[in-house]
């Protein structure tokens, strides 16, 4: 009963409700602007809400978080520039839709599906948090490494043209991710003895450059053409559309919750994995993937919003942050005199239920703001290109600077912008580069941890893979996906089932 009161607290206090609304609204815009991140917003809110009570402060942060994760999809769809890393996959099919004048439909689906995913995440948080966190803790370095390897296989899904070029791009991404001083040993890697290389290359700077600046440079080719007319007649997707994608969205939401709950992986990886999953399981997409498939929007958007609820699971049950934003919230709880940790749920279950309530409200506000502001947003694409292009460039520059207050990041951003422009012209996919950068640390750090834990002995390392059921399952998944993506599988299939089975190949 008391828990119910805590859960309902948000609904009975208009000022708290108001703060969640304001937070969500601000979050949508923070998320939409590349370079402004929820992490930044949340850490500013710490000093801003310092003198407040803890509940209003959390209400605002929860709203920003939920809105921000969703907001990244806006610019991804409208401008082909993901506002946040978790929206990279959204651009793959969202932008082609906007190019057909279906930005309204795309945003409508994105919003509804984000709501759905967010809701699944909250549900799991509310009902199964202790079990999920226990499961998440079971992940050993070798399991994280296997997860990273699984992630690397996504290169196949993200490279529409030549797979070889995709592999080259993905490997380049991993190399970019390891530039600078190695955080584990402080050894210099790819620094060429230049001090400016030591801090490494900001992943956000690479993303903004490759998607923002290179897109703006490409648009210069079409500067004379009129903007695409967007028809925004039907925004809320029909019930049958939603029902049709229900099985897929449940699967991708589950991916989102689990990847979100793992400390060390977040919404960005979840969204990419979900996109890959959708490509694998969808037999007949509404359109081919990469040309405006609805499934290509459903998957990443359910997953990244489900990851929000997921990220709260280890935070609320163990005091372990699920991602950067929950890390800041843990700091906020400390400042407000609470002690986030395993005892929080035991000693102050109300705090848990309050956050669940706030998340539910933030999810609803996200739906409302998402479905109402579309006209204004689509005006952005309707802006004359001669105005839009320089503004994208300027925003990219400020955004890259804002990530770490570093002018070096601006140079990197510009460099990767020009490089990305050339890559696009010659058919090298950009998605795998970003994927590589995201997965670089996960792969590298955990590989080394796993090997060091086994005293550098490969035999013991492989023994370990089979001693834990979790590792074994992950290893089997890695092998299954590897085999199914390479010609070996086709060969076995023809051998076993004869020629007819070829038609079943995706």
């Amino acid at each position: 009963m008391e828990h119910l009161m805590a859960f309902l607290m948000i609904f009975t206090h208009p000022e708290l409700l108001m703060l969640v609304a304001v937070g969500t609204f601000a979050g949508v815009y923070v998320g939409a602007i590349p370079g402004l991140s929820v992490t930044m917003a949340a850490s500013i809110l710490i000093s801003f809400t310092f003198s407040w009570d803890v509940y209003p402060a959390l209400a605002l942060m929860v709203g920003i978080y939920m809105g921000g994760v969703y907001g990244g999809s806006r610019t991804a769809i409208l401008l082909n520039i993901p506002g946040a890393p978790s929206a990279i996959a959204t651009a793959m099919d969202g932008y082609p839709m906007a190019q057909r004048g279906e930005a309204g439909t795309a945003i409508g689906i994105t919003t509804t599906m984000s709501f759905f995913g967010g809701f699944v995440g909250i549900l799991v948080l509310a009902l199964a948090a202790p079990w999920v966190s226990e499961f998440a803790l079971k992940f050993q370095p070798r399991d994280y490494m296997l997860l990273a390897v699984l992630g690397i296989f996504l290169v196949g899904s993200l490279s529409q043209g030549s797979l070889t070029k995709g592999i080259l791009a993905g490997a380049l991404g991993i190399a970019i991710g390891s530039v600078g001083r190695d955080p584990l040993t402080f050894a210099e890697r790819f620094t060429f003895n230049m001090p400016l290389m030591e801090p490494g290359i900001s992943f956000i700077a690479v993303m903004i450059g490759m998607f923002g600046v290179s897109e703006a440079l490409l648009q210069l080719h079409h500067v004379g053409q009129p903007a695409i007319k967007q028809k925004i007649t039907r925004i809320v997707p029909s019930w049958s559309t939603i029902r049709k994608h229900l099985p897929l969205s449940l699967q991708t939401s589950s991916i989102g919750v689990i990847i979100g709950a793992l400390p060390g992986t977040g919404g960005d990886i979840a969204a990419l994995m979900a996109y890959d999953h959708a490509k694998r399981v969808t037999k007949k997409p509404s359109r081919p993937f990469g040309q405006g498939a609805i499934e290509g929007l459903v998957a990443p958007e359910t997953a990244n919003n489900a990851a929000v609820g997921g990220a709260f699971i280890p935070m609320m049950t163990l005091g372990i942050p699920g991602d950067a934003v929950t890390a800041i919230m843990i700091g906020a709880l400390y400042i407000h005199g609470l002690n986030p940790g395993p005892m929080l749920m035991v000693e102050q279950p109300n705090m848990f239920w309050f956050i669940v309530g706030a998340l539910v409200m933030a999810n609803f506000f996200m739906l409302i703001f998402g479905l109402t502001g579309i006209k204004l947003f689509t005006k952005i694409v309707a802006m004359p290109r001669p105005v839009l292009i320089p503004l994208i460039m300027l925003l990219s520059i400020v955004g890259a600077y804002a990530v770490n207050n570093s002018i070096t990041d601006v140079y990197w951003m510009l460099g990767f912008g020009i490089f990305g422009y050339m890559m696009r012209h010659y058919g090298y996919p950009l998605g795998p580069v970003i994927l590589g950068v995201i997965l670089s640390r996960l792969l590298d750090d955990n590989w080394r941890r796993a090997i060091i834990s086994e005293r550098g002995d490969l035999g013991r390392f492989f023994g370990g893979l089979f001693s834990s059921p979790l590792s074994t399952v992950l290893l089997l998944a890695v092998i299954a996906i590897f085999v199914s993506q390479t010609p070996i599988w086709r060969w076995i299939k023809t051998k076993l089932f004869g020629r007819n089975s070829r038609s079943l190949e995706p």
Binding site: M40, F50, Q140, G180, L318, Y334
Partner: protein
């Protein structure tokens, strides 16, 4: 309407710093935090600064600047004019940059405004390990060489210093050192069983210890910590530790050397008052930090002692890139 809104937003975002008619601060002050958002340095700085602002009568805009174990932030502040408008909000790491080959500058290029607080190191183990205190752990490690996995956070981090202390007191311990990029991820790994023992700062492990998710083996103090009265001090197991203690990571606010003295005094007074506020004291006590709140020669003295102790300890453990001698850091006790 729009203009009123923007004005309101601006006013909210800027806070309502009272205006000072004369002199410093005549504009907003930039506070560069050496570590990322959500980290312990970040939390400490963001909670003390609003209190300091009240006394200072100005606004401090805080920014996180990460990378190079904090060296990026330090070098950035060092490149700004010494006018008191750029503060460095940092931890202990810069005192090790020179010997670790991470940079040419350290706190000797800065004037301490206030050393706010010091942390306590604690040795924790996952619940499943076959030892319950420091003594039985040492015995177990010696009986089972290369089996116990210790968490580490890179050369110069707290675990490396604590491990160096243990090596120097107990003789080289045969353990596997598994590197993590911070004590948060390492403590998570400890709870998941990926590592067995982790030297950590008390504040980071406290709640998990209370919940029984981690086993405390010893606190690295001369006396038990009031927050964990039952956990023995490491000195009670081996008195040789006394020569290194008290030791702990610390947080401080700094300005570039050459900043006018009255400005440093004004800042010191402000942060001193900030650190005395009950809110901040409660936060620090609750997380197991010892408030120091020192400035001036006292702080300078603390820094040079800390540096000489720690760098020579690491030097003797063979963990440094260059000898402290090269940088004129005296051997402790000389």
């Amino acid at each position: 309407m729009k203009r009123v809104l923007i004005g309101a937003v601006a006013a909210l975002a800027l806070g309502t710093g009272a205006a000072l008619a004369d002199g410093y601060p005549s504009k907003e002050i930039q506070g560069v935090i050496q570590w990322g958002a959500g980290g312990s340095t970040d939390t400490v700085m963001r909670s003390v600064t609003p209190h300091a602002e009240k006394t200072l009568g100005g606004t401090v805009v805080m920014q996180n600047m990460t990378g190079g174990v904090g060296a990026i932030a330090l070098n950035s502040v060092a490149s700004k004019p010494a006018d008191g408008y750029t503060l460095l909000m940092g931890a202990e790491n810069p005192l090790l940059y020179k010997v670790m080959g991470l940079g040419q500058k350290d706190y000797s290029d800065f004037t301490p405004v206030d050393i706010l607080a010091r942390g306590t190191a604690v040795l924790v183990a996952r619940p499943g390990v076959p030892f319950d205190d420091y003594k039985s752990m040492i015995a177990y490690i010696k009986a089972h060489p290369d089996e116990v996995r210790f968490g580490a956070t890179g050369p110069g981090g707290l675990p490396s210093v604590v491990t160096a202390m243990m090596d120097s007191v107990e003789g080289k311990l045969p353990v596997i050192s598994v590197p993590y990029d911070g004590d948060g991820p390492a403590l998570t790994a400890l709870q998941g069983g990926a590592i067995d023992v982790m030297p950590a700062v008390l504040g980071a492990a406290l709640e998990s210890i209370r919940a029984g998710k981690m086993k405390p083996l010893a606190v690295f103090e001369e006396k038990p910590n009031p927050l964990l009265p039952k956990v023995p001090a490491v000195v009670s197991f081996n008195e040789d530790y006394a020569k290194y203690l008290p030791w702990g990571p610390f947080f401080g606010v700094f300005v570039k050397k050459g900043t006018p003295e009255d400005i440093v005094t004004k800042l010191s007074d402000a942060y001193k008052a900030g650190a005395e506020s009950p809110d901040f004291q409660k936060l620090m006590d609750g997380r197991g930090y010892t408030i120091m709140n020192i400035s001036g020669p006292e702080a300078e003295d603390f820094l040079s002692k800390w540096q000489s102790n720690t760098t020579w300890l690491l030097q003797d453990a063979g963990l440094t890139k260059a000898s402290p001698e090269k940088f004129g850091i005296p051997k402790p006790g000389n």
